[in-house]
């Protein structure tokens, strides 16, 4: 609860800072934010688009948060997304199953791809104590080049060299009832997958023995070992689950929001996932709301730009400032504690201090 308030204050401070920037370039902040909200919510279609924009972020946020909770820093969500998207697209472009079967196969392929891409860093961490930050950065670039060469090599569109062949209608997560309900928005089944994942991950972390073990390993792998938990298996498993979530994000991104896989781009959603996780305090539901917030910012900013003289770069600046305020939330915590004296000091972050080289 208190953490939520702190996040909220961070958001408000970020918005205020953004407002000051708007003043600085001679625009009216209130007007700007009004258009931003209109841009995100004005029509059902826009609401749908906002949700769709948030969807990949839900997954990458969850992915990073899950790893964080188990003491790992997965900076490789971008690469895992790419590979997840690639695998799902490959299935979608290759097979001609009935739609439900095809979609399930694609989702499974995406999960597998993301999981595989995170498995290796997990394995290296567990067996050789290779720091996962470096390993996942390397895997990002390997993913980038893999997609770069595999897509034109095997799934090349007729002319296009910057993305794969377009997926057939039935091999995408877009469904008619959603499109209709949201008035032609590109919202798709991904949002449901996202919500389901949030619930499942929350459940795993808080209610299961698996979550108990993973968190224990994250906080203190020596104690976990002492207590008979299989530390290496848990580290790998944690990375695999984290990667699977990012892979699902890739499915949502490339077969839901888009219908082809892009090459030459590491999806920025992977890095934003770090911010989303942080703002959501590494709790699944927190991640969900943080992702929606990012969705609003990304989705509303275009309309704000169109209606005012505020340049497009400002939305990113605001997001960045919000993250900084969230990172320095200790300060906010102290203030909140001052006004809200009750019990002892709250836990600032539910995250073990990330350590390098050693674990």
């Amino acid at each position: 609860m208190r953490n939520a308030i702190v996040s909220l204050i961070a958001i408000i401070l970020g918005l205020i800072a953004g407002g000051i920037l708007m003043l600085f370039i001679g625009s009216n902040p209130l007007e700007g934010y009004m258009y931003l909200l209109q841009g995100a919510f004005m029509t059902t279609k826009r609401i749908g688009d906002t949700l769709a924009t948030a969807t990949p972020l839900i997954f990458t946020g969850l992915s990073v948060a899950f790893a964080f909770r188990t003491g790992l820093f997965n900076i490789g969500a971008s690469g895992q997304m790419l590979i997840g998207g690639l695998c799902a697209s490959a299935v979608g472009l290759t097979y001609d199953f009935s739609r439900p079967v095809l979609l399930l196969a694609m989702i499974a392929a995406g999960i597998l791809g993301g999981a595989l891409w995170a498995f290796l860093p997990g394995l290296l961490k567990a067996k050789f104590n290779v720091h996962e930050v470096v390993a996942t950065i390397m895997m990002n670039w390997i993913a980038y080049w893999t997609v770069y060469y595999v897509v034109p090599g095997y799934f090349k569109g007729e002319f296009l060299e910057t993305e794969s062949k377009k997926l057939p209608e039935k091999a995408t997560l877009k469904v008619q009832f959603l499109t209709d309900m949201f008035d032609g928005s590109y919202i798709n089944l991904g949002i449901f997958l996202g919500i389901i994942s949030v619930v499942i991950i929350a459940f795993i972390i808080n209610k299961t023995t698996l979550g108990f073990e993973l968190k224990a390993v994250g906080f203190n792998r020596h104690a976990a070992e002492y207590a008979g938990m299989r530390v290496n298996r848990n580290i790998i498993l944690s990375m695999v689950i984290s990667g699977a979530l990012a892979g699902l994000g890739g499915v949502a991104m490339y077969t839901g929001n888009a219908s082809s896989i892009q090459i030459g781009i590491l999806p920025f959603q992977g890095y934003d996932g770090i911010a989303v996780a942080l703002l959501g305090n590494n709790t699944p539901f927190g991640v969900f709301f943080a992702a929606i917030l990012f969705g609003i910012l990304y989705s509303g900013t275009g309309f704000m730009n169109a209606m005012t003289e505020i340049p497009p770069e400002l939305a990113n600046t605001i997001i960045a400032i919000i993250i900084y305020f969230a990172a320095t939330s200790v300060l906010i915590h102290r203030l909140v504690n001052k006004f809200w004296k009750r019990g002892s000091e709250g836990n600032v972050n539910d995250v073990p201090a990330a350590k390098k080289g050693e674990a």
Binding site: T209, E213, Y226
Partner: protein, 507 residues
């Protein structure tokens, strides 16, 4: 009479607790002054105030008669106050010299003048009989030598007042003797010393006066020579404490643990345990006596599964367990009170509740089909916490990190005994605990034995081994030197065996 340090009416608060409430302590020039109190009584805090790590809310500090404000450790150092902390403040991969000069480095031109520093350290080391190699790396030297490095650090800075916070908790008996000797040397050279220790015997051995505090309040200062250990203990705890461990004669049953020709390598890939054989029977406590670093850690880790054995066999109730995973060994009835409670024993960021089920969270009734049952966990945990008098701010919901060391230790012991293991391995179970807690824990260990379980006790404190054990196995350089009956031996004999002298009197 001349006081070198006077701390008058010191008050220090932490959020939610008054750690020092109107405490006074005066140190005479040339005396060894002991500071005694239960775990969490506020001793470390008081010394922290003197050393400038904490600012007191109230009170006055005088050094050599003059009122001073010690705002940080540098001020303390300038005033000639030095401190050896409870946990050593040494950088592992630095050399002795680098550690000592850190913060007051001698400079020649642009660079640190390591050579002249090393020379000066060598001289200091010689003149106080400290025997320290200035070029050795900290990670390569023994704990005892590390402590002497800490002492050298103070001497190098020309400290007049030396504070020792529980200096003996990590030392072997012979190292303790040596430390006492060094302390007397220091006094002879005109230094004054404050020592915090839970071991009344040591206070009797070296201290001139003793200040006792309880729950943050001064109880009084006494002349050590005129006060018995019983009186000291009573002042400290507020009730009578029995030092005698009450125990019946053991009635050994079947062999529970049978170790046969066990060899284990240490982290440096050298055999640290060699061809070790030992039996522990139901209903008896076998104590391992030995100086730190003689293979105890490797022995325990091989039995519990934390370390792979090189060769040999370990049988539990007749069943080979040498290759079993840790969890299987726990399930087959091994309980383990680990040496390093913060590294191994606890997930400090978990609640106490979670820590209390650390080994059984996946068993009924705490879990069903992989789902946790928090109600049951709570019930189980609170029962342990109550039984073992684990004190914390929010009971089972407290984050374990916020507990004092002593209470963390009690929680672990409670958890392990509650598992009711057929074999309980207790490593240094009372390290750093006050006498009241020690008494209680000893009682529980014996109770556990009396229920017909085997207990393997590993302790660096010979007293504890002698008092608790039914049989004593001495270990030296990874080898079993001999096994003796506790009732038929004495400190001298076991001490000799620990030094590697075999008396061929195996039982």
């Amino acid at each position: 009479m001349s006081y070198v340090v006077e701390m008058l009416n010191i008050r220090k608060e932490f959020p939610g607790i008054v750690a020092n409430d109107n405490i006074s302590l005066s140190l005479k020039t040339g005396e060894i002054h002991a500071l005694l109190g239960e775990n969490g009584a506020g001793k470390s805090t008081l010394m922290g105030v003197l050393f400038g790590m904490y600012q007191p809310e109230k009170g006055v500090i005088k050094v050599r008669g003059e009122e001073v404000r010690i705002t940080n450790p540098n001020v303390a150092t300038r005033l000639g106050i030095g401190m050896v902390h409870q946990h050593f403040k040494l950088v592992d991969n630095f050399t002795v010299t680098e550690n000592i000069i850190l913060g007051s480095e001698p400079i020649k031109g642009l660079v640190i003048d390591i050579d002249s520093a090393a020379k000066r350290i060598e001289e200091l080391s010689k003149s106080y009989g400290l025997n320290v190699d200035p070029h050795a790396k900290i990670e390569d030297i023994s704990v005892g030598m590390q402590q002497r490095v800490e002492i050298l650090k103070m001497l190098y800075r020309e400290a007049e007042v030396l504070i020792f916070d529980e200096p003996t908790a990590v030392l072997t008996p012979s190292e303790i003797d040596e430390l006492m000797k060094i302390m007397r040397n220091l006094i002879n050279e005109g230094k004054s010393i404050i020592i915090i220790t839970h071991k009344l015997k040591e206070i009797k051995a070296v201290a001139d006066r003793c200040t006792v505090i309880r729950r943050g309040k001064s109880i009084g200062t006494v002349d050590v020579a005129e006060t018995s250990t019983e009186q000291l203990a009573e002042m400290m705890v507020g009730r009578h404490v029995s030092f005698k461990v009450d125990k019946k004669e053991s009635t050994p049953g079947d062999v529970v643990l049978k170790i046969d020709s066990l060899s284990v390598k240490n982290n440096r890939k050298v055999l640290a345990l060699k061809d070790f054989s030992l039996e522990v029977r139901a209903g008896e406590i076998v104590g391992i006596a030995g100086v730190d670093g003689n293979g105890q850690t490797e022995l325990v880790e091989a039995i519990t599964g934390l370390r792979k054995a090189d060769s040999g066999s370990v049988k539990l109730n007749g069943e080979e367990i040498i290759a079993l995973p840790i969890r299987d060994r726990i399930e087959k009835g091994i309980g383990h009170i680990p040496e390093d409670r913060q590294k191994r024993g606890l997930v400090l960021d978990y609640t106490l509740e979670s820590n209390m089920v650390l080994e059984v969270y996946n068993k009924k009734p705490f879990a069903k089909y992989g789902l946790l049952n928090e109600q049951e966990m709570k019930k189980y945990a609170n029962n342990i916490l109550e039984n073992f008098d684990v004190r914390s701010g929010k009971g089972g919901a407290s984050i374990t990190r916020t507990l004092s060391g002593g209470n963390q230790q009690k929680a672990i012991i409670g958890r392990e005994i509650e598992l009711n293991p057929k074999l309980l391995i207790a490593v240094q179970p009372t390290r750093g605990l006050d006498v009241g807690s020690i008494e209680y824990i000893h009682k529980r260990l014996i109770e556990h034995r009396d229920k017909g379980n085997a207990v393997l006790l590993v302790s660096l404190e010979l007293d504890e081994v002698l008092q608790l054990s039914d049989r004593i196995a001495a270990i030296n350089n990874g080898e079993l030197i001999g096994v003796v009956n506790a009732s038929e031996t004495n400190e001298n004999e076991v001490g000799l065996m620990m030094a590697g002298v075999n008396k061929e009197r195996n039982v």
